[in-house]
Symmetry: C2
Subunit: 87 residues, 2 copies
Amino acid sequence: MPRVAVDVLLKREILDPQGRAVEEALPGLGYEGVHEVRVGKHLELVVEAEGEELAARVDAMCQGFLTNPVIESYRWRVIDESERADA
Amino acid sequence: MPRVAVDVLLKREILDPQGRAVEEALPGLGYEGVHEVRVGKHLELVVEAEGEELAARVDAMCQGFLTNPVIESYRWRVIDESERADA
């Protein structure tokens, strides 16, 4: 069964206070030269579906529950075992 | 300058209550057959560095500030404009 990674960010035109806070904190911590920081959600999940059915179900979940489509954008991809963020 | 996407999840052996809550809510909302839900953070940022220097700086930021390495794992990759979650 495919493992899906979903990334969610606030839309570009929406202010992201958390991203702003991270960006402003970095130089003081010694991390210079980092810009355009945006902070959002990352989900990984296993879905019992393949191909077009998988795409339809992931998009339905993202639009209907996992994101707020008014203010957030998302992108998803199928990942293998080695691409898990907790691998 | 490269744009970097960082995905952060709790380590596998750490209970993820948010992931559990999402997983348990999905069937009641009509989304059956979804398992192993984990919820974490997704960051996108632009870094003034390339190659090995980029890798060293991103890893230092992740380990020193953006994640809690005791309980969280992360993975990062360079993305292009079309791969932005808010593209």
